[in-house]
């Protein structure tokens, strides 16, 4: 009971003491910030693809190619 009442009391208290944040962002600045963030995230994803995924894929392919050959050599 106490555990369920506490969050509601905290929310009510916070809502009652909230002051205006004065943090309004207009549509132009908001969209600009969102597209900049998306661009940075896209660059990070592309960087991961270029620097991690493709080299790992190449390595896996090389290992797969080398595996049958090494088996024959072992005989």
């Amino acid at each position: 009971m106490r555990m369920t009442v506490f969050p509601f009391a905290a929310i009510l208290l916070l809502a009652a003491t909230a002051v205006p944040a004065q943090a309004y962002v207009g549509p132009g600045l908001g969209l600009g910030a969102a597209s900049t963030a998306l661009g940075v995230v896209g660059a990070i994803v592309l960087g991961l693809l270029a620097f991690v995924w493709y080299p790992v894929k190449r390595l896996l392919r090389m290992m797969r190619k080398a595996a049958p050959g090494s088996g024959k050599r072992g005989r």
Binding site: L29, G32, S35, L38, G39, A43, I44, L46, L49, A50
Partner: protein
């Protein structure tokens, strides 16, 4: 409050001027184009992994550069408004209060419309002068 409304209107006009002058919208268009190109390159069939890896490396650098350029341009262009809101109250000009005051907002709107109309008239007069100079006598 009138002084604060004037300062805010000036800051807004300065921001609009900077956005036009620095081509901030063009930078965002270039960013969108690079993003679309990156998607096209990654979705391309029949290309070798080596080619895609190299293209992804180049496009990642380009995308990061363009997004930082666009975001930085926007942040710098929005600086006059930020300065007016941040420094105004410290200098005794209640800009933050004016931003939330309906009368001050109406005054800023009227000033903006008047400025746009004046710009339109000046542009039209300049265009008419140019046409008169270029037309055969």
């Amino acid at each position: 409050m009138i002084a604060a409304a004037l300062v805010l209107a000036g800051a807004l006009l300065a921001t609009l001027h900077l956005v036009r002058r620095w081509g901030v919208l063009g930078r965002f268009a270039a960013l969108g184009m690079t993003g679309r190109r990156a998607v096209r390159v990654m979705a391309r069939r029949g290309a070798s992994d080596r080619w895609k890896e190299r293209a992804a490396r180049l496009l990642a650098a380009r995308l990061l550069g363009r997004s930082l350029l666009a975001g930085g341009g926007l942040a710098v262009a929005a600086m006059p408004i930020g300065l007016a809101l941040g420094v105004g109250p410290a200098l005794g000009v209640p800009t933050t209060a004016a931003l939330l005051d309906p009368a001050a907002r109406l005054a800023i709107l009227a000033m903006g419309i008047a400025f746009a109309f004046a710009r339109y008239l000046v542009g039209r007069a300049a265009g008419a002068g140019r046409r008169a100079r270029l037309s055969p006598a």
